[in-house]
Amino acid sequence: MQTTRYEAPESVAAAVRLVDADPGAKVLAGGTDLLIQFRAGLHRPTAFVDVKRIPELVDIAVDRDGVRLGAATAAAVICEHAEMRRLFPGLVEAVQLIGSTQIQGRSTVGGNLCNASPAADTTCALIVNRAQCIIAGPRGERTVAVEQFCTGPGKTVLQRGELLVSIRIPRPSPGTADAYLRLIPRSEMDIAVVGAAVSLTLGPDGVCTAARVAIAAVAPTALLVPEAADALIGSRLDEAALRGAANAASAAARPIDDKRGTIAYRRQVAGVLTKRAAAIAAERVKGRI
């Protein structure tokens, strides 16, 4: 039987050393994907490197430029963070949708990214908020835009010895708000059949000056859909603009048939959720202006 070790380093440098030295080691954040996959026999790590005792991986730092989110911060901690809720209500909604209350006590945004599921709830919301991934490795630190972090189902840009340390999210410009919606058959506990995140900026006259739209579970990775954003920019979020964004999202979707939904279904609902998320984000801006 293969032996597994448990390691709990207390610094990023120590964690990097551990994962660099042992290619069979797996970084353990919340474990809500990793341990399930382990028990299902999908992988047999030689070591679990628990990164939750590294202070900078489990805190949230807010400054003038934005937020630095420790990659192993529990979802529940993020959802309880007043400033996170105020700045990024859509992102916090996405975080809040990861699993049950119990799972919230464990799951992390970093883990959600590193698991690289096409259906991950937070990835889209991070993408529309222009988040950057801070990665530590044997050769120092590097930064990758979140939309480039996942390269396919279960695949990321992380190289041997590298560790996702934190996610940097710029402070939204005035008049900006985000929203995230997903479709699941039940009200809780399911994996997204489709997800859509929208961030938009409205001028004082109510005209949309900037927008980002991303959709989940409709392609091997979360998709940034500039065409959907273009349909919103310059509009007052009228019915035609929302329909344009919905059509663009549906057109961009490249889903598959599986046990959770069909191609036709996912394509259609990607548009519906995009339209609705844009409307919610606009309401949020108006509430804030």
Partner: protein, 759 residues
């Protein structure tokens, strides 16, 4: 109706404290010194010939103490009637426990290992080398019936040759052609439901010890300890008198914990290893390899006159049995028209084997699927004729004296009272918001009787113990204590209800079939009355008068008029003297209740549909049912609410999803989507009490009926909200959106293969 002092009250259940503090011991909570852990190797194929099994590598692994295969389960061709819910074919049960020659479904047990740790057992199990010759799997009723279908069992022969149709039955009455000729409206549809699981939260678990003297101890989570004893004896060729089964607390069953799966393996492994063996299923194994309920196809035609009188019905139904014969096709046939007086009908039902797990009982087995068809069509007829759906049902509802479609005349039954209660409930007339719809449907279950034993012992302090053989799956201990309290006239907390092992109580059929409060309750009441009779005799002895002259009233022995100076004696007073009046008092009784009181229910469902995504939620729900007499109303309501919830799950999201090779794709709680707390509203209940004359208090079973109405109640609400009649479940968002997007009525009505299922 009789006035009750205790029955009908809501005391705290006796086993409650242990269950809210974590002290109660369930199947996996038991351990024995020196215990080994078992693991099962299961077939990755849905249908394959087993060419060879080589266990040498596994046996050589460190810590491995025993490996067994089908060779360790002797061939047995006996057909043994054990337990309440039908006859079990011992050959099939043994072959299901460990495959002999052929794997018949994905998850079929092929071999098992016992080792010093679970990890070692699991490691060893995957080292067992099995050579399979994969065969084409039969994954649907349509495929199973096709002329060129692969055959699961060569020895299953009908007429000219082998078949996948294991059995057929029919029921008929009147003249079908004349009936339909009389009809002003005739509606026919084809309905489908997928395989669905009971979804109990506790996985199957057991510990078995095979002793040097051949005596066997089994601790397990089961609905029927006597059935486990008899089934293990038959499967393994053991002497049943040497097997003692202790039932643990049981974490849900709903019919699914009646068959044995792990127990014979644990016994065989223990015999080989000479150590106790513990086995616990994973959730994945529970889904793949225990007994869900049948997937079904029902083609039904219903005819009515313009005034709503139902005049004719024709139904053909096919039930998936899974890998071995024995689906609830017969019950499906008998239940589907049970609520209505229909003078002319013809029903045919087929038991079809497919390469899926062998089905087991699941709450009113067979009734939900066929009733889904009936109640959907009754709703359509009401719409077509512009009649109120409750009026239409009341017009045709069966009452005392009417014959059930399966023959006998009903005794007093409560269907009409239930429908009246539905009509009078504020839910029925409450306003609906946009995109909401309302549906109503009825449901029926026979309720079982069968065999039960009970003893009631009286202690010197005036307290009593009641001992029965039914694992308490949902509050039956307190119900039995209430009955003893009622008879003896002592407080409920002075009665200790006990679930005994198979060596300590008389034979008792399973906890199932809605029979515990009814049949075991009859035994409990009779045993308590036996105690009362003995107390009367003791009082007579004290008073030195004829025992026949002593009455038992309100928990006291009462002397005849004119017995001067002799006041009534209470149970406590009599108990205090038992040492001097003849010694301990034990009341005993056993019953064999061949009949039971049928139970009818009606459910009202309000559904809100998101027409852009096809997603729907239940926004209001009311369950109404005739309980005969509710012994502990909390747990009667709980049965109604729980059954409704399971039925709603079947209606909206639950289904077994197989890929084209017959491998189950959603064997876990993540993708087998049972309702969670935020999916449901409060479930309002109305208990109707039309006493069942077969039971001293009027009790009917209540557990099964409530899963029957929800399928059609939800679908009828969907029809009301969207204008579309869906005939295939579940009403998952993709299917509903597809229906909403269909352009023509014909498109909508056409049966389409499930969104996901391989056909």
């Amino acid at each position: 109706m009789k006035d009750f002092k205790y029955v009908g009250t809501r005391p705290i259940r006796h086993d409650g404290l242990d269950k809210v503090t974590g002290r109660a011991n369930y199947g996996a909570d038991f351990a024995l010194p020196g215990m080994l852990y078992g693991a099962v190797l299961r077939s990755p194929h849905a249908h394959a010939r087993i060419v060879s099994i080589d266990t040498k590598a596994a046996e050589a692994m460190p810590g491995v103490k025993a490996v067994i295969t089908g060779d360790d389960i002797p061939e047995n061709f006996a057909k043994v009637a054990i337990g309440g819910e039908g006859t079990f074919d011992m050959h099939d049960m043994g072959d299901n426990a460990l495959a002999h020659g052929k794997a018949l479904y994905n998850g079929h047990a092929v071999a098992a290992v016992a080792a010093v740790s679970l990890e070692a057992a699991q490691e060893a199990a995957v080292r067992i080398e099995v050579v399979y010759e994969p065969l084409e799997p039969v994954l649907s009723i349509d495929r199973a019936l096709a002329a060129d279908a692969p055959i699961l069992h060569e020895n299953l022969v009908e007429g000219q040759g082998p078949t996948n149709v294991a059995a057929r039955m029919e029921l008929k009455r009147g003249d079908l052609d004349a009936g339909f000729a009389e009809a002003d409206v005739v509606i026919e549809r084809e309905f489908r439901t997928p395989m669905a699981h009971q979804g109990y939260i506790e996985p199957h678990a057991c510990v078995a010890r095979y002793g040097e003297d051949g005596r066997v101890l089994v601790w397990c989570t089961t609905q029927g300890p006597f059935l486990v004893r008899d089934a293990c004896a038959a499967i393994l060729g053991l002497d049943g008198s040497k097997i003692k089964v202790i039932s643990s607390e049981i974490g849900g069953g709903f019919g699914g914990k009646i068959p044995v799966y792990l127990e014979p393996l644990a016994i065989a492994l223990s015999r080989k290893a000479n150590r106790p063996v513990k086995m616990v299923m994973t959730r994945d194994e529970v889904f793949r390899a225990t007994g869900p309920t049948s997937g079904t196809k029902v083609v039904m035609k219903l005819g009515a006159k313009r005034d709503g009188t139902l005049v004719a019905a024709h139904a053909s139904m096919w039930y998936e049995a899974g890998a071995y014969r024995g689906s609830p096709f017969g019950a499906g046939a008998m239940c589907c028209l049970a609520a209505y007086k229909i003078p002319n009908f013809f029903i045919e039902a087929y038991d079809v084997v497919v390469n899926k797990p062998k089905v087991a009982a699941y709450r009113a087995p067979g009734s939900p699927a066929s009733t889904f068809a009936t109640e959907s069509l009754v709703d359509e007829i009401a719409r077509t004729l512009g009649l109120d759906p409750i009026d239409l049902r009341l017009k045709n509802a069966v009452a005392e004296g009417d014959n059930a479609p399966y023959g006998p005349a009903y005794g007093p039954i409560g269907l009409k009272q239930v429908l009246e209660a539905a009509r009078n409930h504020p839910h029925w007339t409450a306003p609906l918001a946009p995109n909401q719809g309302r549906g109503i449907a009825c449901g029926f279950w026979f309720n079982a009787g069968l065999s039960s034993s009970a003893t009631v012992t009286l202690d010197g302090d005036g307290s009593a113990a009641v001992v029965t053989g039914n694992p308490d799956i949902g509050g039956t201990r307190v119900a039995q204590a209430l009955m003893v309290a009622e008879e003896l006239g002592i407080p409920v907390d002075r009665v200790r209800p006990i679930v005994a092992d198979t060596d300590s109580v008389g034979f008792t059929d399973v906890t199932g079939g809605s029979r515990v409060c009814y049949a075991t309750g009859m035994a409990v009441i009779a045993a308590a009355r036996d105690v009362c009779d003995q107390l009367r005799a003791r009082a007579a002895k004290i008073w030195d008068i004829d025992p026949a002259s002593v009455e038992w009233e309100d928990g006291r022995a009462v002397p005849p008029d004119g017995a001067d100076g002799r006041g009534p004696l209470t149970v406590a007073e009599l108990a205090a003297k038992i040492g001097h009046t003849g010694g301990p008092i034990v009341g005993r009784a056993s019953v064999n209740a061949p009949m039971a009181g049928p139970g009818f229910g009606a459910h009202i469902c309000d559904l809100e549909v998101d027409v852009e995504t096809g997603r729907s939620i239940v926004v209001r729900y009311t369950a109404i049912q005739d309980a005969g007499k509710a012994v502990h109303p909390d747990f009667v309501e709980g049965q109604m609410q729980g059954g409704a919830s399971q039925g709603i799950g079947m209606a909206l999201n639950e289904e077994y999803i197989y890929n084209a090779s017959g491998v189950m794709e959603n064997a876990g709680f993540l993708d087998y989507r049972m309702p969670v707390a935020s999916d449901l509203p409060m479930i309002d209940t109305v208990i109707v009490e039309v006493p069942n004359p077969l039971h001293p208090y009027g009790v009917r079973g209540v557990g099964e009926t409530p899963i029957v109405p929800p399928l059609a109640a939800v679908a009828n609400a969907m029809r009301d909200a969207t204008g579309i009649r869906f005939t295939e479940l579940p009403l998952s968002p993709p299917r509903v959106l597809e229906g909403l997007s269909a352009r023509t009525t014909e498109d909508r009505d056409a049966w389409r293969p499930s969104t996901y299922q391989a056909v």
